[in-house]
Amino acid sequence: MSEKLHATLKVSRGAEGDAPRFDSFDVPFEDGASVLDALVWVRTNQDASLAFRYSCFNANACKECMVRVDGKTEYACTARLKTGIVKVEPLAKKRLVRDLVTDIVPPKERLRGEG
């Protein structure tokens, strides 16, 4: 019986103002997989509420999936997953929305209601 390789994602959770916490998820590891692959796997198989941004899928075209991987700012779609523990956090210098989502919307693209 072969032991399948896996990675452990330690993901920063919570909305702006919540007490910071990390949730750990064991995810299958495949050669060449990206951190984005692992996040999508978690949302599909472990926790449907995990919030992170991405639009194109692993093509590095939309540039929406930037997070911190082990403290380093990277696109989740080009950051390679490794076996062992991988810490994933939201961008440090942007306002946190929830989980890995930060406020990266340009100011001129915000909704201005008429009340």
Binding site: A15, Q46, C56, F57, A59, C62, D99, L111, E114
Partner: protein, 577 residues
């Protein structure tokens, strides 16, 4: 509840939506341009790293009617020829406008470089070099939108429902993704530019937000869809080794720029065994290539991961460096050295020929509701000619914006809004919130069911279909709609409520999956991208377009005659000379 009002409300900010915004503003309308993702980042345009077809005639003499003839031939008898003619005639105008806006079409000696893409009679397809076409197009239009007077941009607005009053599209209800707030939009005209449905397939080249939401909104608003059975599979999507940071359909331009060879698992060329010639030109039509690859795999002659080999090993290094340039390094980061080994490719869901049924001014049958881009059905018939998708985004986007502006500011006598009540907006969003189970564990959410739907569509409503498999798919899709959806636990309002957004997306996806499957069952023949193993031949009685509408909550199909042009192409060429 936040209320906003505008003349023209555009849903989706890819190529078509952004072009529509520019055109509507040019026509004097106030425009609200919204995207579920960030403006210009989502949708198909950003992923379109390929070529754009237009008869600009820079590389060799061309005329738009030649482009039209190729488009109609690829369409296998089902093109709405009025729409195809508009696409081909106005394509060069839009390409030159994009050129003025400095998109950066590749040039040599001052003339735009055009390549010979599959299915075209000559060198007709422009591009921005090094797989940069889509991003360059998105960036250029984003700049024009930002400069356009009267255009308000909103990122992170997920539109859920078109609101229809007195038979006319009067507004929409949306969720502000970041705050979770409900937004009520009052509009004089609405343009659906939210793309196609290829994300419903396991192997796809789609952005994540292409699960058929434009089609589902159109159906629920009372509009007709057409040709929904025709899903285009791109023959040589990347399969292995694992490739990240690049588009899975990137190989095609290189295949015909430098001549990549398709080889089966025994390293033999095979395209010629399926009635196509590939020798030297590498421009076999896409449906033929998909067919040949799938049959080779079925016959046990596939590559290790279930595709075929694409080899550039015979191309000299200097040619590779000249044509691939910086791509060589990006491939090296993925552990790929094309001079030493072939890569594996497989068909992949790429584009939807079907879509919202519109007239020549991009109007649906619901007054005030327009469609643009891939959301539109009909121009490409049963198979889309390569390079027509971005052209279509430009041409149909421009028209939809222009005619929507006219509708909102003139035809309706300046009326740009009706008083929409908040109760109707709340009612339009009501479905899943009634099922919220506080504290429920969130496994088995909409994302998991979407994955099952993707596998189901791939296996049973994919490249090669049978009546039996289609019926099985339809039964499971309806069961998901009836049972699984209502059992799902959804958390209450929260900032960036992904589980809730996924639920709405899945609801749209299931309705589209049902429409595709039902249409495929009804078309008891094989034609273009719709291939039935149980009925392998085309039948003249099916040289008609199939429509789908939603009546009392049920999808109802019908048949209409194919719109044909009344002039001959030779007359058009003669008139132009």
């Amino acid at each position: 509840m936040i209320r906003v009002s505008t003349d023209v409300f555009i849903i989706g900010a890819g190529g078509a939506g952004m072009y529509a915004a520019v055109a509507a503003a040019r026509a004097g309308a106030r425009v609200l341009l919204a995207d579920k993702s960030l403006i210009s980042r989502g949708g198909a345009t950003i992923m379109a790293q390929m070529t754009v077809a237009a008869a600009v005639g820079h590389e060799e003499p061309d005329h738009w009617t030649h482009h039209l003839a190729d488009t109609i031939e690829a369409g296998n008898g089902l093109c709405n020829e009025h729409l195809s003619a508009i696409l081909c005639e106005e394509g060069p105008i839009r390409i030159m406008e994009m050129d003025e806006w400095k998109v950066g079409w590749a040039r040599e000696n001052g003339r735009m470089t055009q390549v010979h893409a599959p299915g075209h009679g000559l060198k007709r397809c422009v591009y921005v070099d090094y797989l940069n076409t889509g991003p360059a197009v998105a960036r250029t239009l984003r700049g024009e939108v930002a400069q356009g007077a009267g255009i308000t941009r909103v990122s992170g607005l997920a539109v859920m429902e078109i609101l229809v009053r007195d038979g006319e599209a009067a507004g929409a209800v949306a969720i502000d993704v970041e705050s979770g707030e409900t937004i009520l939009i009052e509009a004089g005209a609405i343009v659906l530019a939210a793309g196609g449905l290829t994300r419903l397939y396991k192997r796809n080249s789609a952005s994540v937000n292409m699960a058929g939401e434009a089609y589902a909104m159109a159906l629920r608003a009372g509009a007709e869809l057409i040709d929904m059975e025709f899903v285009q599979f791109f023959p040589i999507g990347h399969l292995a080794p694992r490739l990240v940071g690049m588009d899975p359909i990137m190989w095609d331009p290189f295949r015909y720029k430098v001549g990549g060879r398709l080889l089966n698992g025994n390293f033999e060329e095979f395209i010629h065994d399926y009635g196509a010639s590939d020798g030297g030109t590498y421009t076999a039509r896409r449906d033929v290539a998909s067919y040949a690859i799938t049959r080779e795999v079925e016959a046990g002659r596939g590559s290790p991961h279930g595709g075929v080999w694409l080899s550039f090993e015979h191309i000299p290094d200097d040619v590779m460096m000249d044509k691939f340039g910086p791509m060589i390094d990006r491939l090296a980061k993925n552990g790929i050295d094309l001079s030493k080994s072939a890569i594996e490719v497989s068909p992949i869901a790429h584009y939807h020929m079907g879509g919202v049924r519109v007239d020549d001014e991009m109007r649906t049958r619901v007054p005030g509701l327009f469609a643009a881009g891939e959301a539109v059905g009909g121009a490409n018939g049963a198979t889309r000619l390569s390079g027509n998708a971005i052209t279509e985004a430009f041409v149909f986007g421009e028209r939809a914006g222009r005619f929507a502006a006219t509708h909102a500011t003139h035809a309706k006598g300046g009326r740009s809004q009706v008083a929409l009540d908040e109760a109707s907006a709340v009612a339009a969003l009501a479905a899943p919130r009634g099922q919220i189970k506080p504290g429920a564990k969130l496994d088995g959410g909409a994302a998991a069911l979407m994955k099952e739907l993707q596998a189901l569509m791939w296996d049973k409503v994919g490249l090669f279909r049978t009546g039996e498999a289609l019926e099985q798919a339809l039964a499971r899709i309806r069961e998901m709609q009836r049972d699984d959806m209502s059992r799902m636990a959804i958390p209450d309002d929260a900032p960036f409520n992904q589980a809730l957004l996924d639920w709405y997306e899945l609801r749209a996806g299931l309705l589209c999956a049902e429409a595709v499957t039902l249409s495929a069952i009804n078309r008891t023949e094989s034609r273009g991208a719709h291939q039935r193993d149980d009925i392998p031949d085309a039948s003249p009685e099916f040289e008609r377009n199939q429509t789908i509408v939603l009546q009392n909550g049920e999808l109802v199909a019908g048949w209409v005659d194919v719109p044909r042009i009344s002039y001959t192409l030779e007359d058009k060429v003669a008139a132009a000379v």
